[in-house]
């Protein structure tokens, strides 16, 4: 969790009801939310008070054994309590639709970023740059950003609570979402469409930078400095290997990495194979080739998502997990 500590808390900032509002459109959503909230609070209190008042006033007593009057209907009050709510909800309808269109239609000059969701991670690609797919969504502040999103397997949904935006991510079509951040910082991204065992761990970080920092970040190439095992340890989390592989010997979705290197592994096919550098590399790039016995064939290929150095780093990290 230490890497996530710097994410802006949803609970600590903002109002009692809403998380902090840090995009150009999140404020207009909040205005409407608060308006309906207070309407609801007064409406509920009003209805409750009238009900309780009637309970006290017309409670059955010795003297009040039968109803004082029998009233079938009263056209005036019925028209009032039909028409007034109707007007109110029509106003809310129009208000919601107007803001919805603003949330849906991205400005012409928005910067496009490709978002891919798969069980159980997100990654982000920047067209027009040499940048490798990023595990964090990095965007400049004060710039409209349009996400072009798709899924590699089941349905996912992309949700940034601080920006009040959400959109389903589907395997057979591209969906879009746009925002313009107003504050530099790190924010929470959730998957909100149920997608299986590790659904609740399918999270990512949104990092909003100043324009200069962003330009610099875009130019930074591959990490060639960090020692391989340390880089591997970082990738284990950031590439969501930890969603399926434990490092403490426990069984999650796939086989544990603890004490794995150098041992023999039984395969579904009945063969067995020595876990060496070649087997590990093959399992990362072509995971379906050799399935460990008793485990489901569910891993997606990381071909193209990891550089050679990153694959080496993961292998070196796995080697350190031998006791």
């Amino acid at each position: 969790m230490s890497e996530q500590d710097n994410i802006t808390s949803l609970v600590d900032y903002g109002t009692t009801w809403l998380p902090g509002s840090y995009s150009t459109l999140s404020d207009i959503v909040d205005v409407q939310f608060n308006a309906i909230l207070w309407l609801s609070v007064f409406g509920t209190i009003g209805i409750t008070l009238v009900t309780l008042y009637f309970c006290l006033k017309y409670k059955r007593t010795e003297k009040n054994q039968v109803a004082e009057k029998q009233i079938d209907h009263n056209l005036t009050v019925e028209v009032i309590w039909t028409v007034i709510p109707l007007i109110i909800v029509m106003v809310i309808f129009y208000w919601g639709f107007r803001d919805y269109l603003r949330l849906m239609v991205a400005p012409e000059d928005a910067m496009e970023i490709r978002v891919t969701g798969e069980k159980w991670r997100w990654y982000f690609e920047y067209p027009g740059t040499d940048k490798r797919p990023s595990d964090d969504l990095v965007v400049p502040v004060g710039q409209a950003v349009k996400l072009v999103m798709s899924s590699k397997d089941v349905l996912h949904s992309f949700f940034i609570p601080n920006f009040r935006v959400k959109r389903d991510v589907q395997p057979n079509r591209y969906s879009h979402l746009w925002f313009e951040a107003t504050k530099i910082g790190t924010f929470q991204i959730f998957c909100t469409e149920y997608c299986g065992a590790q659904h609740s761990n399918m999270q990512a970080k949104l990092i909003v930078m100043s324009r200069n920092d962003f330009e610099e970040w875009k130019e930074t190439g591959e990490d060639t400095e960090t020692p391989l095992p340390i880089l591997g340890k970082r990738l284990y989390k950031s590439k969501a290997c930890n969603a399926c592989h434990s490092i403490d010997g426990s069984r999650v979705i796939g086989p544990t990495w603890k004490n794995a290197y150098g041992t023999m592994r039984e395969l579904e096919s009945g063969d067995s194979v020595l876990i060496d550098d070649n087997y590990l590399r093959e399992s990362i790039v072509y995971p379906a080739n050799k399935i460990a016995k008793g485990y489901p064939n569910v891993m997606n290929s990381y071909a193209g998502l990891l550089s050679d150095r990153e694959i080496n780093a993961l292998i070196e990290y796995i080697k350190t997990l031998k006791e």
């Binding site: 949803l10 309906i36 009900t51 004082e68 079938d72 209907h73 949904s157």
Partner: protein, 530 residues
């Protein structure tokens, strides 16, 4: 009453129940089964809330947690809340309120019960044999690809659908053909009107669900690509099909509850129901419009913005008749003689909770707000306020109201009031905090969650224990009532409704001599001299 024979002691032996065609016995058996399902679904809820006490693993694995919330949802929706009021209280009281000796097709009624049981067996098989983990909505392509037992569960749902359709057909024909002499449409109690509206939805909407799950079954078994993109299908099509049933189904769940509430408020206020005719029409209006709002479950799924706009507009319109009903119930209390017995306490809690459910429905109906709130705990809290705060409270109101008639025994009013307090406080603790959690950004169906949300979850989980205590007290005094309860008089509440004019419990043919001639309205109470 102790001397006479009644529908319970008229014939003896287990066979006389299994093969009975008496609508009352069938209603009682349905009651037992739906309460059993409620107990089972509730147990899963308690397990879920316990796991959510801490932000990471407590005692379930992620997969077990996902299976538990799927089973909680599927059991509560398909085995409990859809059949709850119509099949139990409806079966028992619809013919009596119509002045009939039974429903139109008694054998079909029995078939409907046992088809329900067969469907339930499939669902239970799914629990034991590799529990399904798709969520009760079975969204594709996850449901086309998961290795858990999807097929037994949707097979169960398919079979349960027939039970629902048969009950619906039976009620429609009974209302049309079996009304007692003199009982014109606008002399029928509102409970009948709401059951009739419900039956229409059941008959028209349920086949769509049946076909949908059948298609899903074909996709999983022989790989016909309909919903799974890997096979050339479209997952959003599944969502459209699914909600085309499941949104009207929400009204299958709430309309009968509105009927019960109408009966209870009239009896315990000794008042004519305010705006009776409009209430009858609005039930039919809700049934009709409910078919046109399914798209409000798909605001973020990628349907066209124009469709989305229309669904939002229609969603707001369907809210209006429900709002009018709330005003009418409260207006009925005006100048009444209000008896604050336990059924009426449940009426009051229904009004309060359903109002909150309704207002938060307005929040969710707004397009821009739903974008933020969709698939968060705000939605979870909203539908629990409507379904549990609405339907379950009304079911409890109806159960306490009609208990003396169904079993001929009274229950302890003191115990009932104590249980009511537990249920009311517990319910609000569990679910009110979930509104705040949700609008703060907490997604639903999360096994692990950000540690900062823990305080909210702790309140919610403690509430679930208080709620459970309330339900166990209810179970306790109802069992006590059956064993040792005081004999109930025919009309303990002083109601003017038809069912209170016959014996408690009723005889097998309800009306001993001739069928009644009904020449007055349903809520025929006197007024004072003042």
């Amino acid at each position: 009453m102790s001397s006479g024979t009644n529908y319970i002691n008229a014939t003896k032996g287990i066979k006389s129940w299994i093969f009975t065609v008496d609508h009352k016995r069938i209603g009682i058996m349905y009651l037992a089964f739906v309460l059993l399902a409620f107990f089972l679904g509730g147990m899963f809820a308690i397990l879920l809330r316990l796991e959510l006490l801490t932000p990471s693993a407590l005692y379930l694995t992620a997969k077990q947690y996902n299976q538990a919330f799927t089973l909680h949802g599927a059991i509560m929706v398909f085995l409990f809340i859809v059949p709850s009021i119509p099949a139990s209280l409806g079966n028992f009281f619809l013919p009596i309120q119509l002045g009939a000796i039974d429903v139109a097709f008694p054998k079909l009624n029995l078939a409907s019960l046992w088809i329900y049981v067969i469907g339930a067996v499939f669902c239970f098989y799914s629990i034991i044999g590799g529990s399904v983990d798709t969520g009760w909505t079975f969204y594709t392509p996850y449901s086309s690809s998961t290795d858990t037992s999807v097929i037994p569960m949707i097979m169960g749902v398919f079979i349960l659908g027939f039970s629902s359709i048969l009950t619906g057909i039976n009620f429609i024909v009974t209302v049309h053909k079996m009304r007692a002499p003199g009982l014109s449409w606008f002399k029928m109690p509102l409970f009948i009107w709401t059951l009739y509206s419900t039956a229409i939805i059941q008959v028209l909407a349920t086949p769509v669900l049946a076909i949908t799950v059948l298609l899903l079954m074909l996709e999983r078994t022989i790989g016909i690509g309909i919903f799974d993109p890997a096979l050339g299908g479209d997952p959003v099509l599944f969502q459209h099909f699914f909600w085309f049933y499941s949104h009207p189904a929400v009204y299958i769940m709430i309309l009968p509850a509105m009927g019960v509430i109408s009966e209870v408020v009239a009896t315990f206020c000794k008042k004519k129901l305010f705006g009776y005719e409009l209430m009858a029409y609005s039930s039919m209006a809700i049934a009709f419009i409910s078919f046109l709002v399914w798209g409000h479950h798909l605001y973020v799924s990628g349907q066209s913005p124009y469709a989305t706009m229309l669904f939002s507009l229609l969603t707001f319109l369907v809210g209006i008749p429900s709002g009018i009903k709330v005003f009418n119930w409260i207006a009925t209390m005006y100048t009444g003689s209000i008896d604050l017995k336990s059924p009426f306490l449940y009426f009051l809690s229904f009004i309060f909770l359903f109002t909150i459910g309704g207002f938060t429905g307005v929040v969710l109906g707004s397009l821009s707000l739903d974008i933020h709130l969709h698939d968060t705990y705000f939605v979870v809290a909203h539908f629990h306020y409507v379904m549990m705060g609405g339907t379950v409270m009304a079911f409890l109101a109806g159960l306490h109201y009609w208990w003396p008639k169904m079993f001929g025994k009274m229950y302890s009013e003191v115990a009932a009031r104590i249980a009511f307090i537990f249920v009311f406080v517990g319910f609000n603790m569990v679910f009110f905090i979930q509104f705040i959690m949700g609008s703060k950004g907490m997604p639903r169906r999360y096994y692990n969650y950000l540690p900062e949300f823990q305080p909210y979850h702790v309140v919610s989980t403690i509430g679930s224990w208080i709620l459970a205590v309330g339900f166990f007290i209810i179970l306790g005094y109802f069992i006590h009532s059956l064993m040792k309860g005081k004999q109930a008089p025919p009309n303990p509440w002083g109601s003017s409704a038809m069912e209170w004019k016959i014996a408690s419990p009723p005889t097998t043919f309800n009306f001993d001599e001739n069928l009644p001639y009904i020449d007055h309205g349903p809520y025929d109470y006197p007024k004072g001299n003042s």
